[in-house]
């Protein structure tokens, strides 16, 4: 019975405690977006948007390398917000849709390739691509993790991974404006690799920082 008395005391103390800080999805996204756009803007100001962007945009592959990551980012951030509430249902299969389109583009390219596909995949700027996307993702992801600590995800690892995917995919769609390698083999491999890497980092961060 002494235990129940302590529970009564706890309820009294909690009722008298100040309101906890609320989790604000709108502000959280705005903060992440600001940090990301600042980084991307600086990057594009220094290294430049590709000079032939206007002409190249007519090609489906060039559009895809901006639009597919953007779609992935939107679905991932939407899912991350759903997963941030205890009762939220997360339909992870949504992430497979942009992935499936990317896979189809790779297969289509492979069907028309004549022996050079590995060199085409390796490209000239793979490491720059990987490094840029990962580095540009770091700060916005950190901001997202910090702000999501006020939310209540019941699967913190999933929420962290979704935040990582969303951030890196958004960065990739901006980085695509700089990158001149237009083969689906290249950008699916390296953008995809960078996005998955940051997703993994997000999962680890979620495990460490989003549990409550």
């Amino acid at each position: 019975m002494n235990d129940r008395r302590r529970t009564e005391d706890l309820i009294g103390a909690l009722a008298a405690a100040p309101l906890p800080e609320p989790f604000r999805p709108g502000r959280t996204l705005a903060a992440m977006l600001c940090v990301m756009l600042a980084g991307l803007g600086l990057y594009l100001a220094i290294f430049g948007i590709r000079p032939d962007l206007g002409a190249a945009w007519a090609e489906l592959a060039v559009q895809a390398k901006t639009i597919l990551p953007a779609l992935l980012s939107l679905s991932a951030i939407w899912l991350a917000l759903r997963s941030a509430r205890p009762e939220g249902r997360v339909m992870l299969w949504l992430l497979a849709l942009p992935g499936a389109v990317a896979g189809a583009m790779v297969l289509y390219r492979l069907a028309g390739a004549d022996g050079l596909s590995f060199a085409e995949m390796a490209g000239q700027t793979a490491l720059a691509c990987l490094g840029s996307i990962v580095l540009l993702s770091a700060l916005p992801l950190a901001a997202g993790i910090v702000l999501f600590r006020r939310s209540a995800p019941t699967r913190p690892v999933v929420t962290g991974a979704l935040l990582g995917l969303a951030t890196a995919a958004a960065v990739a769609s901006g980085y695509a404006l700089h990158c001149t390698e237009d083969s689906p083999l290249f950008f699916v491999a390296w953008y995809g690799g960078a996005i998955c890497l940051v997703g993994g980092i997000g999962a680890v961060a979620g495990h460490r920082f989003l549990r409550w």
């Binding site: 005391d9 309820i11 009294g12 909690l14 009722a15 405690a17 906890p20 509430r85």
Partner: protein
């Protein structure tokens, strides 16, 4: 693990299954109760402390029943501790409930997370009798991952009152209530302060380990 949870987190399932056990008036009753809970929590989140106390009192029997049904493997004196962890989480995360959403699914999902977490933390340690390990346990003087000196250093990094609480509870084995008395806090306030202090300490410990 989650399937064993006694209550459905989905309101529609809960109301649909109700007539079988309680009869049609049970549904009405439950819906009315839901509305009361929602009004109370909404007012609580507007800063009404009394409404929050009433809300916690109202949900406590349900939570207690859930924990009892799940907690066969644990001694009953731990059930109340787990309940208190859940109540604390309800407070800390209460503003993630949206006033336009039903409160039950939110509350059950939150409670399930905390209950599963609490059982996972305690499960192994509690269900295995210590005698089985007596022969392989290292002696007292074997190097602990966190030595007494480290503990003192870390306690020096948090404020004095919290440090006194932690020392009394963790090192001297007092209850939160007794520890609170020595620093002039109620037992409930002491538990909250302890929880915060332990969080800060585990953060510090992680940094020290690296």
């Amino acid at each position: 693990m989650t399937a064993a949870f006694a209550l459905s987190p989905r309101r529609d399932c809960a109301t649909l299954s109700a007539p079988v056990t309680v009869g049609p008036s049970g549904v009405e009753e439950r819906l009315r109760q839901d509305e009361v809970w929602e009004v109370l929590l909404a007012r609580a989140n507007d800063g009404d402390g009394a409404a929050f106390a009433r809300f916690l009192h109202a949900v406590t029997p349900t939570l207690r029943a859930v924990i009892r049904r799940r907690g066969d493997g644990l001694p009953p004196d731990q059930h109340e501790d787990i309940l208190q962890e859940v109540l604390l989480a309800v407070h800390l995360k209460r503003r993630t409930w949206r006033p336009d959403a039903p409160v039950r699914p939110w509350l059950y999902a939150l409670a399930r997370y905390k209950v599963v977490d609490a059982f996972r933390k305690r499960g192994a340690a509690v269900t295995l009798p210590i005698e089985d390990f007596a022969e392989i346990l290292p002696g007292e003087d074997a190097a602990a991952p966190l030595s007494a000196r480290d503990a003192e250093v870390m306690l020096g990094l948090i404020d004095t009152r919290s440090a006194m609480l932690v020392r009394a509870v963790a090192l001297d084995g007092k209850t939160a209530g007794e520890a609170g008395e020595t620093v002039g806090m109620t037992a409930g306030a002491a538990r909250v302060a302890l929880h915060r202090a332990m969080q800060r300490l585990s953060g510090l410990a992680e940094r020290m380990m690296k």
